[in-house]
Protein backbone atom coordinates (compact mmCIF):
# COMPACT_ATOMS: atom_id res chain seq x y z
CA UNK A 1 0.00 0.00 0.00
CA UNK A 2 1.44 3.36 -1.04
CA UNK A 3 1.70 5.89 1.85
CA UNK A 4 -0.38 8.71 0.45
CA UNK A 5 -2.56 9.68 -2.44
CA UNK A 6 -1.31 11.76 -5.32
CA UNK A 7 -4.69 12.61 -6.84
CA UNK A 8 -4.65 16.14 -5.46
CA UNK A 9 -8.22 15.83 -4.21
CA UNK A 10 -9.17 17.57 -0.97
CA UNK A 11 -11.43 15.51 1.27
CA UNK A 12 -13.80 17.04 3.78
CA UNK A 13 -15.58 14.74 6.20
CA UNK A 14 -18.62 15.72 8.23
CA UNK A 15 -19.05 14.49 11.84
CA UNK A 16 -22.48 13.07 10.93
CA UNK A 17 -20.78 10.40 8.82
CA UNK A 18 -18.54 9.38 11.72
CA UNK A 19 -21.43 9.22 14.19
CA UNK A 20 -23.49 7.28 11.62
CA UNK A 21 -20.82 4.63 11.20
CA UNK A 22 -20.28 4.45 14.94
CA UNK A 23 -24.00 4.00 15.54
CA UNK A 24 -24.22 1.30 12.86
CA UNK A 25 -21.36 -0.61 14.41
CA UNK A 26 -22.64 -0.24 17.99
CA UNK A 27 -26.10 -1.40 16.99
CA UNK A 28 -24.90 -4.50 15.13
CA UNK A 29 -22.47 -5.36 17.92
CA UNK A 30 -25.13 -4.95 20.62
CA UNK A 31 -27.64 -7.10 18.70
CA UNK A 32 -25.03 -9.83 18.37
CA UNK A 33 -24.01 -9.46 22.01
CA UNK A 34 -27.20 -8.80 23.99
CA UNK A 35 -26.88 -7.21 27.43
CA UNK A 36 -26.47 -9.80 30.23
CA UNK A 37 -30.03 -9.30 31.55
CA UNK A 38 -31.59 -10.03 28.18
CA UNK A 39 -29.21 -12.90 27.39
CA UNK A 40 -29.96 -14.57 30.73
CA UNK A 41 -33.71 -14.19 30.26
CA UNK A 42 -33.65 -15.73 26.81
CA UNK A 43 -31.13 -18.42 27.78
CA UNK A 44 -28.73 -17.43 24.98
CA UNK A 45 -25.04 -17.87 25.45
CA UNK A 46 -22.38 -16.28 23.35
CA UNK A 47 -21.29 -19.56 21.77
CA UNK A 48 -18.23 -20.08 19.70
CA UNK A 49 -17.42 -17.19 17.40
CA UNK A 50 -16.72 -14.64 20.12
CA UNK A 51 -14.00 -12.84 18.20
CA UNK A 52 -16.35 -12.18 15.29
CA UNK A 53 -19.16 -11.04 17.57
CA UNK A 54 -16.75 -8.72 19.39
CA UNK A 55 -15.87 -6.77 16.27
CA UNK A 56 -18.40 -7.32 13.53
CA UNK A 57 -17.73 -5.55 10.25
CA UNK A 58 -20.43 -3.21 9.01
CA UNK A 59 -20.77 -1.74 5.55
CA UNK A 60 -22.41 1.27 4.04
CA UNK A 61 -22.28 3.98 1.44
CA UNK A 62 -21.02 7.54 1.85
CA UNK A 63 -22.72 10.34 -0.02
CA UNK A 64 -21.90 13.95 -0.63
CA UNK A 65 -20.81 16.37 -3.31
CA UNK A 66 -17.72 16.93 -5.38
CA UNK A 67 -16.98 20.47 -6.44
CA UNK A 68 -13.87 20.62 -8.56
CA UNK A 69 -11.04 19.09 -6.57
CA UNK A 70 -12.94 19.14 -3.29
CA UNK A 71 -14.85 16.08 -2.18
CA UNK A 72 -17.19 16.72 0.72
CA UNK A 73 -18.72 13.69 2.45
CA UNK A 74 -21.92 14.77 4.14
CA UNK A 75 -23.83 11.66 5.04
CA UNK A 76 -23.93 7.88 4.83
CA UNK A 77 -26.38 5.00 4.82
CA UNK A 78 -26.16 1.34 5.65
CA UNK A 79 -25.81 -1.44 3.11
CA UNK A 80 -26.04 -5.19 3.09
CA UNK A 81 -23.00 -7.33 2.53
CA UNK A 82 -23.50 -10.39 0.35
CA UNK A 83 -21.05 -13.04 1.60
CA UNK A 84 -21.62 -15.23 -1.47
CA UNK A 85 -20.52 -12.68 -4.05
CA UNK A 86 -18.22 -10.93 -1.58
CA UNK A 87 -19.59 -7.53 -2.53
CA UNK A 88 -22.33 -5.22 -1.35
CA UNK A 89 -25.93 -6.10 -2.26
CA UNK A 90 -26.42 -4.12 -5.45
CA UNK A 91 -30.21 -4.07 -5.61
CA UNK A 92 -30.38 -2.86 -2.01
CA UNK A 93 -27.87 -0.15 -2.77
CA UNK A 94 -29.86 1.06 -5.76
CA UNK A 95 -33.08 1.11 -3.75
CA UNK A 96 -31.42 3.12 -0.98
CA UNK A 97 -29.85 5.46 -3.50
CA UNK A 98 -33.25 6.13 -5.01
CA UNK A 99 -34.75 6.90 -1.61
CA UNK A 100 -31.92 9.23 -0.60
CA UNK A 101 -32.06 11.03 -3.94
CA UNK A 102 -35.64 12.09 -3.16
CA UNK A 103 -34.59 13.81 0.04
CA UNK A 104 -31.04 14.87 -0.82
CA UNK A 105 -31.12 15.40 -4.59
CA UNK A 106 -27.70 17.10 -4.65
CA UNK A 107 -25.83 14.25 -2.98
CA UNK A 108 -24.10 11.53 -4.97
CA UNK A 109 -22.55 8.27 -3.95
CA UNK A 110 -18.91 9.05 -3.29
CA UNK A 111 -17.81 5.69 -1.97
CA UNK A 112 -18.34 3.28 0.85
CA UNK A 113 -17.44 2.70 4.47
CA UNK A 114 -16.57 -0.15 6.72
CA UNK A 115 -15.11 -0.84 10.14
CA UNK A 116 -11.85 -2.48 11.03
CA UNK A 117 -8.28 -1.79 12.00
CA UNK A 118 -6.89 -1.82 8.46
CA UNK A 119 -8.02 -2.17 4.87
CA UNK A 120 -8.21 -5.80 3.76
CA UNK A 121 -7.29 -7.31 0.41
CA UNK A 122 -10.91 -8.39 0.02
CA UNK A 123 -12.07 -4.76 0.36
CA UNK A 124 -10.78 -4.13 -3.13
CA UNK A 125 -13.57 -6.37 -4.54
CA UNK A 126 -16.18 -4.14 -2.96
CA UNK A 127 -14.30 -1.05 -4.07
CA UNK A 128 -14.07 -2.18 -7.68
CA UNK A 129 -17.75 -3.11 -7.73
CA UNK A 130 -18.64 0.50 -6.90
CA UNK A 131 -16.58 1.92 -9.73
CA UNK A 132 -19.44 1.81 -12.18
CA UNK A 133 -21.35 4.20 -9.91
CA UNK A 134 -18.38 6.43 -9.12
CA UNK A 135 -15.21 6.31 -11.21
CA UNK A 136 -12.97 6.89 -8.21
CA UNK A 137 -14.83 5.95 -5.07
CA UNK A 138 -13.45 6.60 -1.61
CA UNK A 139 -13.20 4.08 1.17
CA UNK A 140 -13.83 5.37 4.70
CA UNK A 141 -12.55 3.03 7.36
CA UNK A 142 -13.41 3.47 11.03
CA UNK A 143 -11.43 1.61 13.67
CA UNK A 144 -13.98 0.84 16.40
CA UNK A 145 -11.51 -0.20 19.07
CA UNK A 146 -11.43 2.36 21.86
CA UNK A 147 -7.90 3.37 22.77
CA UNK A 148 -7.82 6.30 25.17
CA UNK A 149 -4.13 6.85 24.52
CA UNK A 150 -4.73 7.82 20.91
CA UNK A 151 -5.19 11.47 20.04
CA UNK A 152 -6.06 11.13 16.38
CA UNK A 153 -9.46 10.21 14.98
CA UNK A 154 -9.47 6.48 14.12
CA UNK A 155 -10.91 7.26 10.68
CA UNK A 156 -8.91 6.67 7.52
CA UNK A 157 -9.92 7.62 4.01
CA UNK A 158 -8.49 5.55 1.20
CA UNK A 159 -8.47 6.22 -2.48
CA UNK A 160 -7.54 3.70 -5.11
CA UNK A 161 -4.63 4.19 -7.48
CA UNK A 162 -3.34 2.13 -10.34
CA UNK A 163 0.25 1.08 -9.60
CA UNK A 164 2.51 -1.25 -11.47
CA UNK A 165 3.75 -3.85 -9.04
CA UNK A 166 6.09 -6.56 -10.34
CA UNK A 167 5.15 -5.53 -13.85
CA UNK A 168 1.47 -6.03 -13.16
CA UNK A 169 -0.82 -2.97 -13.06
CA UNK A 170 -3.12 -3.24 -10.10
CA UNK A 171 -5.35 -1.09 -7.98
CA UNK A 172 -4.14 -0.47 -4.46
CA UNK A 173 -5.47 1.57 -1.58
CA UNK A 174 -3.62 4.77 -0.73
CA UNK A 175 -4.16 7.03 2.26
CA UNK A 176 -5.86 10.32 1.59
CA UNK A 177 -5.70 13.16 4.05
CA UNK A 178 -8.91 14.85 5.10
CA UNK A 179 -10.21 17.66 7.22
CA UNK A 180 -13.28 17.74 9.39
CA UNK A 181 -15.88 20.09 8.01
CA UNK A 182 -19.02 21.18 9.79
CA UNK A 183 -21.96 23.39 9.04
CA UNK A 184 -22.87 25.68 11.93
CA UNK A 185 -25.95 23.70 13.03
CA UNK A 186 -23.97 20.46 12.89
CA UNK A 187 -21.18 21.92 15.00
CA UNK A 188 -23.65 23.15 17.61
CA UNK A 189 -25.38 19.77 17.86
CA UNK A 190 -22.05 17.88 18.00
CA UNK A 191 -21.01 20.22 20.81
CA UNK A 192 -24.39 19.69 22.45
CA UNK A 193 -24.07 15.90 22.56
CA UNK A 194 -20.35 15.87 23.20
CA UNK A 195 -20.81 17.89 26.37
CA UNK A 196 -24.44 16.82 26.99
CA UNK A 197 -25.66 20.36 27.54
CA UNK A 198 -29.23 20.84 28.71
CA UNK A 199 -31.50 22.14 26.00
CA UNK A 200 -33.45 24.41 28.30
CA UNK A 201 -32.65 28.10 28.52
CA UNK A 202 -30.75 28.34 31.73
CA UNK A 203 -30.03 31.73 33.19
CA UNK A 204 -28.20 34.43 31.25
CA UNK A 205 -25.14 33.72 33.39
CA UNK A 206 -25.24 30.02 32.45
CA UNK A 207 -25.56 30.86 28.77
CA UNK A 208 -22.68 33.31 28.98
CA UNK A 209 -20.54 30.77 30.83
CA UNK A 210 -21.31 28.10 28.24
CA UNK A 211 -20.49 30.44 25.36
CA UNK A 212 -17.24 31.68 26.85
CA UNK A 213 -16.19 28.17 27.87
CA UNK A 214 -16.50 27.07 24.26
CA UNK A 215 -14.31 29.91 23.02
CA UNK A 216 -11.87 29.39 25.89
CA UNK A 217 -11.48 25.68 25.04
CA UNK A 218 -10.86 26.45 21.37
CA UNK A 219 -8.27 29.13 22.19
CA UNK A 220 -6.63 26.74 24.65
CA UNK A 221 -6.27 24.19 21.84
CA UNK A 222 -4.75 26.84 19.58
CA UNK A 223 -2.38 27.86 22.37
CA UNK A 224 -1.24 24.29 23.00
CA UNK A 225 -0.50 23.73 19.32
CA UNK A 226 1.45 26.98 19.09
CA UNK A 227 3.46 25.96 22.17
CA UNK A 228 4.33 22.62 20.60
CA UNK A 229 5.48 24.37 17.44
CA UNK A 230 7.45 26.90 19.46
CA UNK A 231 9.24 24.22 21.45
CA UNK A 232 10.02 22.36 18.24
CA UNK A 233 11.52 25.51 16.71
CA UNK A 234 13.57 26.24 19.83
CA UNK A 235 14.93 22.71 19.75
CA UNK A 236 15.77 23.21 16.07
CA UNK A 237 17.54 26.47 16.90
CA UNK A 238 19.56 24.80 19.63
CA UNK A 239 20.51 22.04 17.26
CA UNK A 240 18.79 19.30 19.25
CA UNK A 241 16.88 18.25 16.19
CA UNK A 242 17.86 18.58 12.52
CA UNK A 243 16.74 21.71 10.74
CA UNK A 244 13.63 21.16 8.62
CA UNK A 245 13.45 23.87 5.97
CA UNK A 246 9.95 23.06 4.74
CA UNK A 247 8.56 23.46 8.25
CA UNK A 248 10.43 26.70 8.71
CA UNK A 249 8.97 27.99 5.46
CA UNK A 250 5.45 27.01 6.55
CA UNK A 251 5.86 28.73 9.92
CA UNK A 252 7.29 31.83 8.27
CA UNK A 253 4.41 31.94 5.79
CA UNK A 254 1.91 31.55 8.65
CA UNK A 255 3.47 34.39 10.60
CA UNK A 256 3.46 36.66 7.61
CA UNK A 257 -0.31 36.13 7.27
CA UNK A 258 -0.82 37.90 10.56
CA UNK A 259 -2.57 40.24 11.15
CA UNK A 260 -5.29 38.11 9.54
CA UNK A 261 -7.31 41.02 8.17
CA UNK A 262 -6.14 44.59 8.15
CA UNK A 263 -8.18 46.33 5.49
CA UNK A 264 -10.18 49.51 5.83
CA UNK A 265 -13.29 47.72 4.64
CA UNK A 266 -12.99 45.14 7.40
CA UNK A 267 -12.53 47.91 9.99
CA UNK A 268 -15.64 49.68 8.69
CA UNK A 269 -17.74 46.49 8.77
CA UNK A 270 -16.39 45.47 12.14
CA UNK A 271 -17.04 48.83 13.75
CA UNK A 272 -20.48 48.97 12.14
CA UNK A 273 -21.36 45.60 13.70
CA UNK A 274 -19.87 46.71 17.00
CA UNK A 275 -21.90 49.89 17.10
CA UNK A 276 -25.07 48.11 15.99
CA UNK A 277 -24.76 45.71 18.93
CA UNK A 278 -24.12 48.57 21.33
CA UNK A 279 -27.19 50.31 19.96
CA UNK A 280 -29.30 47.17 20.40
CA UNK A 281 -28.03 46.85 23.99
CA UNK A 282 -28.87 50.50 24.62
CA UNK A 283 -32.40 50.12 23.26
CA UNK A 284 -32.92 46.92 25.27
CA UNK A 285 -31.89 48.79 28.37
CA UNK A 286 -34.37 51.56 27.55
CA UNK A 287 -37.09 48.96 27.02
CA UNK A 288 -36.31 47.48 30.41
CA UNK A 289 -36.40 50.94 31.99
CA UNK A 290 -39.73 51.72 30.31
CA UNK A 291 -41.21 48.51 31.67
CA UNK A 292 -39.95 49.28 35.17
CA UNK A 293 -41.22 52.84 34.88
CA UNK A 294 -44.63 51.62 33.79
CA UNK A 295 -44.84 49.32 36.81
CA UNK A 296 -43.87 52.17 39.10
CA UNK A 297 -46.47 54.48 37.59
CA UNK A 298 -49.16 51.84 37.98
CA UNK A 299 -48.26 51.18 41.59
CA UNK A 300 -48.19 54.89 42.25
CA UNK A 301 -51.57 55.39 40.61
CA UNK A 302 -53.03 52.41 42.46
CA UNK A 303 -51.64 53.63 45.79
CA UNK A 304 -53.04 57.11 45.33
CA UNK A 305 -56.16 55.84 43.57
CA UNK A 306 -55.49 57.96 40.50
CA UNK A 307 -57.45 57.41 37.27
CA UNK A 308 -56.01 57.98 33.82
Amino acid sequence: MAPSSSSGLTFKLHPLVIVNISDHYTRVKTQLNPPPSVAAASGNGHGGDVAFQQNPRVYGCVIGVQRGRTVEIFNSFELLYDPITDILDRSFLEKKQELYKKVFPHFYILGWYSTGSDAQESDMHIHKALMDINESPVYVLLNPSINHAQKDLPVTIYESELHVIDGVPQLIFVHASYTIETVEAERISVDHVAHLKPSDGGSAATQLAAHLTGIHSAIKMLNSRIRVLYQYLVAMQKGDIPCENSLLRQVSSLLRRLPAIESERFQDDFLMEYNDKLLITYLAMFTNCSSTMNELVDKFNTAYDRHT
Binding site: P15, H24, I280, A284
Partner: protein, 313 residues
Protein backbone atom coordinates in the same frame (compact mmCIF):
# COMPACT_ATOMS: atom_id res chain seq x y z
CA UNK B 1 -23.26 -1.30 29.96
CA UNK B 2 -24.05 2.12 28.51
CA UNK B 3 -24.42 0.51 25.09
CA UNK B 4 -27.22 -1.74 26.34
CA UNK B 5 -29.74 0.89 25.29
CA UNK B 6 -28.87 0.10 21.67
CA UNK B 7 -30.18 -3.43 22.02
CA UNK B 8 -33.65 -3.92 20.55
CA UNK B 9 -35.76 -6.48 22.37
CA UNK B 10 -38.68 -7.14 20.04
CA UNK B 11 -40.38 -9.45 22.55
CA UNK B 12 -40.41 -6.77 25.24
CA UNK B 13 -41.57 -4.13 22.76
CA UNK B 14 -44.38 -6.34 21.47
CA UNK B 15 -45.48 -6.99 25.06
CA UNK B 16 -45.53 -3.24 25.76
CA UNK B 17 -47.57 -2.66 22.60
CA UNK B 18 -50.15 -5.17 23.78
CA UNK B 19 -50.40 -3.75 27.29
CA UNK B 20 -50.95 -0.18 26.07
CA UNK B 21 -50.36 1.59 29.42
CA UNK B 22 -50.77 4.97 27.72
CA UNK B 23 -54.41 4.22 26.89
CA UNK B 24 -55.57 5.02 30.43
CA UNK B 25 -53.24 7.89 31.18
CA UNK B 26 -52.96 10.76 28.65
CA UNK B 27 -49.89 11.92 30.55
CA UNK B 28 -48.19 8.51 30.61
CA UNK B 29 -45.08 9.33 28.62
CA UNK B 30 -43.02 11.92 30.47
CA UNK B 31 -39.49 11.58 29.10
CA UNK B 32 -37.69 11.38 25.78
CA UNK B 33 -34.18 10.07 25.29
CA UNK B 34 -32.65 11.07 21.99
CA UNK B 35 -29.52 9.46 20.60
CA UNK B 36 -26.61 11.62 19.45
CA UNK B 37 -27.11 10.37 15.90
CA UNK B 38 -30.83 11.17 15.81
CA UNK B 39 -30.24 14.68 17.13
CA UNK B 40 -27.49 15.36 14.65
CA UNK B 41 -29.56 14.11 11.72
CA UNK B 42 -32.65 16.09 12.73
CA UNK B 43 -30.82 19.36 13.30
CA UNK B 44 -28.82 19.11 10.08
CA UNK B 45 -31.93 18.26 8.07
CA UNK B 46 -33.92 21.08 9.69
CA UNK B 47 -31.18 23.61 8.91
CA UNK B 48 -30.84 22.39 5.33
CA UNK B 49 -34.46 23.43 4.77
CA UNK B 50 -33.57 27.07 5.38
CA UNK B 51 -36.79 29.02 5.95
CA UNK B 52 -38.96 26.17 4.70
CA UNK B 53 -40.48 23.75 7.21
CA UNK B 54 -39.20 20.24 6.64
CA UNK B 55 -40.13 17.03 8.38
CA UNK B 56 -39.04 13.50 9.03
CA UNK B 57 -39.73 10.46 11.14
CA UNK B 58 -38.03 9.05 14.19
CA UNK B 59 -37.38 5.41 14.93
CA UNK B 60 -37.00 4.01 18.37
CA UNK B 61 -38.64 2.16 21.21
CA UNK B 62 -40.20 2.65 24.61
CA UNK B 63 -38.95 2.01 28.10
CA UNK B 64 -41.50 2.56 30.81
CA UNK B 65 -42.60 6.16 30.63
CA UNK B 66 -39.77 7.09 28.26
CA UNK B 67 -39.73 7.14 24.51
CA UNK B 68 -36.24 6.39 23.22
CA UNK B 69 -35.39 7.86 19.82
CA UNK B 70 -32.60 5.85 18.22
CA UNK B 71 -32.56 7.26 14.71
CA UNK B 72 -34.29 9.70 12.41
CA UNK B 73 -34.79 9.99 8.68
CA UNK B 74 -35.92 12.81 6.48
CA UNK B 75 -39.10 12.72 4.41
CA UNK B 76 -39.50 14.33 0.98
CA UNK B 77 -42.13 16.71 2.35
CA UNK B 78 -41.91 20.47 2.75
CA UNK B 79 -44.16 23.17 4.15
CA UNK B 80 -45.53 21.12 7.01
CA UNK B 81 -47.53 24.10 8.30
CA UNK B 82 -49.63 24.31 5.14
CA UNK B 83 -51.80 21.24 5.71
CA UNK B 84 -52.73 18.69 8.36
CA UNK B 85 -50.90 15.39 8.16
CA UNK B 86 -48.39 16.55 5.55
CA UNK B 87 -46.63 13.23 5.91
CA UNK B 88 -49.49 11.62 3.99
CA UNK B 89 -47.67 12.86 0.89
CA UNK B 90 -44.84 10.50 1.70
CA UNK B 91 -46.55 7.29 2.83
CA UNK B 92 -45.01 5.24 0.06
CA UNK B 93 -41.58 6.61 0.85
CA UNK B 94 -42.06 5.87 4.56
CA UNK B 95 -43.01 2.26 3.93
CA UNK B 96 -40.13 1.66 1.53
CA UNK B 97 -37.59 3.33 3.79
CA UNK B 98 -38.75 1.46 6.90
CA UNK B 99 -38.58 -1.84 5.02
CA UNK B 100 -35.04 -1.21 3.76
CA UNK B 101 -34.00 -0.08 7.22
CA UNK B 102 -35.27 -3.29 8.76
CA UNK B 103 -33.31 -5.31 6.22
CA UNK B 104 -30.19 -3.35 7.13
CA UNK B 105 -30.65 -4.19 10.81
CA UNK B 106 -32.50 -1.12 12.07
CA UNK B 107 -35.22 -3.08 13.85
CA UNK B 108 -36.92 -0.22 15.68
CA UNK B 109 -40.35 0.99 14.63
CA UNK B 110 -41.36 4.54 13.91
CA UNK B 111 -42.11 6.27 17.23
CA UNK B 112 -42.66 9.82 16.14
CA UNK B 113 -42.22 12.64 13.70
CA UNK B 114 -40.09 15.75 13.77
CA UNK B 115 -40.40 18.99 11.88
CA UNK B 116 -38.83 22.42 11.85
CA UNK B 117 -40.12 25.83 12.87
CA UNK B 118 -37.45 28.07 11.35
CA UNK B 119 -37.21 31.15 13.55
CA UNK B 120 -40.47 30.92 15.46
CA UNK B 121 -39.76 28.57 18.34
CA UNK B 122 -40.55 25.06 19.50
CA UNK B 123 -44.28 24.60 20.02
CA UNK B 124 -47.18 22.95 18.24
CA UNK B 125 -49.36 24.96 15.90
CA UNK B 126 -53.02 24.13 15.27
CA UNK B 127 -52.07 22.06 12.24
CA UNK B 128 -49.36 20.28 14.24
CA UNK B 129 -51.81 19.52 17.06
CA UNK B 130 -54.33 18.06 14.58
CA UNK B 131 -51.61 16.00 12.93
CA UNK B 132 -50.29 14.72 16.24
CA UNK B 133 -53.80 13.90 17.51
CA UNK B 134 -54.36 11.86 14.37
CA UNK B 135 -51.03 10.10 14.87
CA UNK B 136 -51.82 9.34 18.49
CA UNK B 137 -55.15 7.90 17.45
CA UNK B 138 -53.73 5.39 15.00
CA UNK B 139 -50.01 4.98 15.62
CA UNK B 140 -49.32 4.96 19.33
CA UNK B 141 -46.87 5.36 20.91
CA UNK B 142 -46.07 8.49 18.89
CA UNK B 143 -44.12 11.61 19.67
CA UNK B 144 -43.88 15.05 18.06
CA UNK B 145 -40.54 16.84 18.05
CA UNK B 146 -40.05 20.41 16.89
CA UNK B 147 -36.67 21.92 16.07
CA UNK B 148 -35.92 25.57 15.40
CA UNK B 149 -32.72 25.56 13.32
CA UNK B 150 -32.57 29.35 13.03
CA UNK B 151 -32.68 29.91 16.78
CA UNK B 152 -30.24 27.02 17.22
CA UNK B 153 -27.63 28.88 15.17
CA UNK B 154 -28.49 32.24 16.70
CA UNK B 155 -28.38 31.05 20.31
CA UNK B 156 -25.52 28.58 19.86
CA UNK B 157 -27.49 25.75 21.47
CA UNK B 158 -30.02 23.27 20.13
CA UNK B 159 -33.58 24.59 20.25
CA UNK B 160 -35.75 21.49 20.44
CA UNK B 161 -39.03 20.47 22.03
CA UNK B 162 -40.83 17.15 22.37
CA UNK B 163 -44.61 17.06 22.75
CA UNK B 164 -47.62 14.82 23.03
CA UNK B 165 -51.21 15.92 22.67
CA UNK B 166 -54.06 15.25 25.01
CA UNK B 167 -57.15 13.45 23.69
CA UNK B 168 -59.95 15.62 22.33
CA UNK B 169 -61.91 17.25 25.13
CA UNK B 170 -59.49 16.19 27.86
CA UNK B 171 -58.68 18.82 30.46
CA UNK B 172 -55.46 18.21 32.35
CA UNK B 173 -55.78 18.55 36.14
CA UNK B 174 -52.70 20.78 36.40
CA UNK B 175 -51.68 23.57 34.08
CA UNK B 176 -48.58 22.44 32.19
CA UNK B 177 -45.58 24.46 33.22
CA UNK B 178 -43.63 25.43 30.18
CA UNK B 179 -40.49 27.43 29.74
CA UNK B 180 -41.08 30.91 28.39
CA UNK B 181 -40.14 31.40 24.76
CA UNK B 182 -40.44 34.28 22.34
CA UNK B 183 -43.31 33.82 19.92
CA UNK B 184 -43.55 36.17 16.90
CA UNK B 185 -46.64 38.37 16.79
CA UNK B 186 -48.05 36.67 13.71
CA UNK B 187 -47.95 33.28 15.46
CA UNK B 188 -49.09 34.29 18.94
CA UNK B 189 -52.74 33.55 18.31
CA UNK B 190 -52.04 30.11 16.87
CA UNK B 191 -49.77 29.39 19.84
CA UNK B 192 -52.21 30.63 22.47
CA UNK B 193 -55.28 28.84 21.14
CA UNK B 194 -53.65 25.41 21.14
CA UNK B 195 -51.03 25.56 23.91
CA UNK B 196 -53.26 23.75 26.39
CA UNK B 197 -53.89 20.83 24.06
CA UNK B 198 -50.46 19.32 24.49
CA UNK B 199 -47.66 18.95 27.01
CA UNK B 200 -43.90 18.94 26.75
CA UNK B 201 -41.73 15.97 27.63
CA UNK B 202 -38.30 16.20 29.29
CA UNK B 203 -35.54 15.61 26.80
CA UNK B 204 -32.25 13.92 27.60
CA UNK B 205 -29.57 12.64 25.27
CA UNK B 206 -27.45 9.53 25.16
CA UNK B 207 -24.53 8.21 23.17
CA UNK B 208 -22.59 4.98 22.93
CA UNK B 209 -19.12 4.45 24.35
CA UNK B 210 -17.71 4.59 20.83
CA UNK B 211 -19.63 7.83 20.16
CA UNK B 212 -18.15 9.36 23.33
CA UNK B 213 -14.64 8.34 22.32
CA UNK B 214 -15.06 9.66 18.78
CA UNK B 215 -16.69 12.91 19.88
CA UNK B 216 -13.81 13.55 22.30
CA UNK B 217 -11.34 13.01 19.50
CA UNK B 218 -13.43 15.07 17.08
CA UNK B 219 -12.85 18.08 19.31
CA UNK B 220 -9.18 17.90 18.30
CA UNK B 221 -10.34 18.74 14.78
CA UNK B 222 -13.43 20.90 15.00
CA UNK B 223 -12.12 23.36 17.57
CA UNK B 224 -11.01 25.27 14.48
CA UNK B 225 -14.63 25.53 13.34
CA UNK B 226 -15.68 26.68 16.82
CA UNK B 227 -13.10 29.45 16.71
CA UNK B 228 -13.86 30.48 13.15
CA UNK B 229 -17.66 30.41 13.38
CA UNK B 230 -19.72 33.46 14.12
CA UNK B 231 -23.43 33.44 15.00
CA UNK B 232 -23.64 37.01 13.70
CA UNK B 233 -22.99 35.97 10.13
CA UNK B 234 -25.72 34.24 8.19
CA UNK B 235 -28.55 35.11 10.55
CA UNK B 236 -28.94 38.77 9.70
CA UNK B 237 -32.45 38.45 8.31
CA UNK B 238 -33.62 36.56 11.37
CA UNK B 239 -32.25 39.21 13.73
CA UNK B 240 -33.85 41.98 11.70
CA UNK B 241 -37.12 40.06 11.83
CA UNK B 242 -36.87 39.64 15.59
CA UNK B 243 -36.24 43.35 16.17
CA UNK B 244 -39.07 44.28 13.82
CA UNK B 245 -41.39 41.93 15.68
CA UNK B 246 -40.30 43.47 18.97
CA UNK B 247 -41.16 46.93 17.67
CA UNK B 248 -44.63 45.72 16.65
CA UNK B 249 -45.18 44.17 20.06
CA UNK B 250 -44.18 47.48 21.66
CA UNK B 251 -46.74 49.25 19.52
CA UNK B 252 -49.40 46.80 20.63
CA UNK B 253 -48.39 47.17 24.27
CA UNK B 254 -48.53 50.93 23.97
CA UNK B 255 -52.06 50.78 22.52
CA UNK B 256 -53.10 48.58 25.43
CA UNK B 257 -51.59 51.03 27.90
CA UNK B 258 -53.42 53.91 26.34
CA UNK B 259 -56.78 52.11 26.62
CA UNK B 260 -56.52 50.54 30.03
CA UNK B 261 -56.77 52.06 33.48
CA UNK B 262 -54.10 49.90 34.96
CA UNK B 263 -51.13 49.61 32.66
CA UNK B 264 -51.31 45.88 32.26
CA UNK B 265 -50.28 45.22 35.85
CA UNK B 266 -52.07 42.47 37.72
CA UNK B 267 -51.54 42.74 41.49
CA UNK B 268 -49.28 40.03 42.82
CA UNK B 269 -52.06 38.58 44.97
CA UNK B 270 -54.18 37.96 41.89
CA UNK B 271 -51.33 36.77 39.72
CA UNK B 272 -51.92 33.05 39.41
CA UNK B 273 -50.08 32.19 36.24
CA UNK B 274 -47.08 33.41 34.38
CA UNK B 275 -49.39 34.42 31.51
CA UNK B 276 -50.60 37.29 33.72
CA UNK B 277 -47.16 38.83 33.44
CA UNK B 278 -47.54 42.29 31.93
CA UNK B 279 -46.98 42.42 28.21
CA UNK B 280 -44.20 44.97 28.64
CA UNK B 281 -42.34 42.59 30.94
CA UNK B 282 -42.55 39.89 28.27
CA UNK B 283 -41.28 42.34 25.65
CA UNK B 284 -38.39 43.23 27.96
CA UNK B 285 -37.51 39.56 28.22
CA UNK B 286 -37.61 39.20 24.45
CA UNK B 287 -35.39 42.23 23.97
CA UNK B 288 -32.97 40.89 26.58
CA UNK B 289 -32.77 37.58 24.73
CA UNK B 290 -32.02 39.26 21.41
CA UNK B 291 -29.40 41.46 23.06
CA UNK B 292 -27.70 38.60 24.89
CA UNK B 293 -27.34 36.61 21.67
CA UNK B 294 -25.96 39.61 19.80
CA UNK B 295 -23.54 40.47 22.56
CA UNK B 296 -22.29 36.87 22.69
CA UNK B 297 -21.60 37.02 18.98
CA UNK B 298 -19.87 40.35 19.34
CA UNK B 299 -17.73 39.06 22.19
CA UNK B 300 -16.35 36.23 20.09
CA UNK B 301 -15.67 38.64 17.20
CA UNK B 302 -13.80 41.04 19.47
CA UNK B 303 -11.78 38.21 21.03
CA UNK B 304 -10.82 36.94 17.58
CA UNK B 305 -9.93 40.43 16.43
CA UNK B 306 -7.59 40.86 19.38
CA UNK B 307 -6.13 37.39 18.87
CA UNK B 308 -5.46 37.50 15.15
CA UNK B 309 -5.34 41.16 14.18
CA UNK B 310 -3.35 42.76 16.96
CA UNK B 311 -0.17 40.88 16.07
CA UNK B 312 2.49 43.09 14.51
CA UNK B 313 5.72 42.04 12.78
Amino acid sequence: ASDGIFYYDDVAQAKFQQEKPWANDPHYFKRVKISALALLKMVVHARSGGTIEVMGLMQGKTDGDSIIVMDAFALPVEGTETRVNAQADAYEYMVEYSQTNKLAGRLENVVGWYHSHPGYGCWLSGIDVSTQMLNQQFQEPFLAVVIDPTRTVSAGKVEIGAFRTYPEGYKPPDEPVSEYQTIPLNKIEDFGVHCKQYYALDITYFKSSLDSHLLDLLWNKYWVNTLSSSPLLGNGDYVAGQISDLAEKLEQAENQLAHSRIGGIVPATLQKKKEDEPQLAKITRDSAKITVEQVHGLMSQVIKDILFNSVRQ
